[in-house]
């Protein structure tokens, strides 16, 4: 947590209650400073998102971008601003236990002046994002549409930007199979974002039914399906904070392949001969 101070604080005074961040303790009304012994059953995510988190007398920047075991925060401050960095962790309530909890951590702080030259490299993706948008459909010559309106096979792996999904926190990719096909769609986990891949079979204009829900498993989400001809869509359902999705040029990686069952069977036959 970054706390912007109204004035400098002497090192000797930093532990006094006047300068301690305060926590919300669910209606008790007490502001007794940051107490790591108070547990939050819903975990750290809920805590740092505000309802159980600390508050400051003035400006308080809580949280950051999660990336594996790291929490990153990039912020810009005006000249002659005093600030301090708080590290906090709530631990499970261990009533009756005398053991104390410890946490290993590393803290890296880098600073640079916000001049035009220094900021250019950080802000340029806002103005020039080379990553293309998620397709709305696989029913195009690039993917499924072959010559003479036949279905063709494809295997694409690419990054797609998602920072433009302002109001809709999900994205739908439609596809129409004209013959039974094998479908594999895989998305590696993202450094900051959590999402699910959902395979739905369309039943009408506004009606669909779910076939498979692929949640994050270790390092990727995977859909592998053998589907009859028909209309389908794959949905990216994001469960992360919207602010993280709207970071400049935020993107996800997607690998997808579709092959007709006839050709897949022929391909599998070569496996047997080779094996």
């Amino acid at each position: 947590m970054i706390e912007v101070l109204e004035s400098d604080v002497e090192l000797n005074d930093i532990r006094s209650s006047d300068h301690s961040p305060r926590t919300h303790h669910g209606g008790s009304g007490s502001n007794s400073g940051l107490d790591p012994s108070r547990g939050d059953a819903q975990g750290r995510d809920t805590q740092i998102q505000g309802s159980q988190g600390p508050s400051c007398k003035s400006v308080c920047l809580i949280g950051g971008e999660k990336s594996y075991n790291e929490m990153q925060r990039v912020f810009e401050l005006g000249a002659r601003t005093y600030f301090r960095i708080w590290l906090f962790q709530q631990v499970p309530d261990r009533r009756g236990s005398s053991s104390s909890s410890c946490a290993n951590y590393q803290l890296f702080v880098t600073m640079k002046t916000a001049g035009a030259d220094n900021m250019a490299s950080d802000t340029s993706p806002q103005f020039r994002c080379p990553i293309e948008e998620l397709p709305k459909s696989f029913n195009s010559p690039r993917f499924l549409e072959g010559p003479d309106a036949q279905q063709k096979d494809f295997h694409h792996k690419q990054s797609y930007r998602i920072d433009h999904l302002w109001h809709n926190r999900a994205h739908k990719i439609e596809f129409r199979l004209m013959e039974p096909s094998l479908v594999r769609i895989q998305a590696p986990i993202h450094r900051h974002l959590d999402f699910e891949l959902v395979l739905n079979q369309d039943q009408g204009t506004y009606s669909y039914k779910t076939l498979l829900r692929a949640k994050r498993e270790d390092f990727h989400s995977m859909i592998f399906a053998e589907l009859e001809a028909g209309e389908y869509h794959v949905k990216f359902a994001f469960v992360s904070d919207a602010a993280l999705m709207h970071l400049p040029c935020q993107s996800v990686e997607l690998e997808a392949a579709i092959m007709t069952l006839d050709r897949a069977q022929a391909f599998a036959e070569t496996f047997r001969k080779t094996g």
């Binding site: 498979l212 690998e255 006839d262 897949a264």
Partner: protein, 169 residues
């Protein structure tokens, strides 16, 4: 695992498993909905140990067809439970670890079953999938710049032959 390590010095080991991956029939919108974790299929698991004085890293490369096999490779630290996965590049999954902490590990190759909404009795269906994999596993050691040619990147492998009571290096 010892065979894999020795063979990988000459080239990748080919593993063919007929009908290794099945399918599961699902009715669209009818519970229980299938979750990805229920479809997990472990293809290969081999235990190995890194000794304190090995000072070794690990390079693993797995080649498999993305659509038909979709196999992934991972290392499981038996003590901590930490799983490290390889990163996929098209039809290969590669995992490079510069330095392995001493301890017991599992090498895991896994994939997932297919779901299908097709009629299981239909003639033209693939009810099981063969797996054709090519797997390379090599131990590595970082060579210091000052070592010059005196110290290579290869790591000697000791295979304990318990039945014969001898050891080969």
């Amino acid at each position: 695992m010892s065979e894999l390590l020795v063979d990988s010095s000459h080239g990748p080991t080919t593993i063919f498993k007929p009908s290794a991956v099945g399918w599961r029939h699902v009715e669209a919108g009818v519970p229980p909905y299938v979750d990805q974790t229920e479809l997990f299929v472990e293809i290969y698991r081999e235990a190995f140990e890194i000794a304190a004085d090995d000072d070794a890293g690990l390079f693993i490369e797995l080649q498999s067809d993305f659509l038909l096999s979709g196999a992934n490779v991972a290392i499981n630290n038996v003590v901590t439970g930490q799983i490290i996965e390889g990163k996929r590049h098209d039809s290969s999954s590669r995992l490079v670890i510069e330095h392995m902490q001493p301890g017991e590990y599992d090498l895991i190759v896994y994939t997932h079953e297919a779901v299908t909404n097709m009629d299981p009795t239909a003639e033209k269906t693939l009810s099981s999938f063969d797996l054709l994999l090519q797997l390379s596993v090599r131990l590595l050691r970082l060579a210091d710049q000052n070592d010059g040619g005196a110290r290579g990147a290869g790591v000697p492998i000791e295979i304990l032959d318990y039945s014969g009571g001898s050891a080969h290096t």
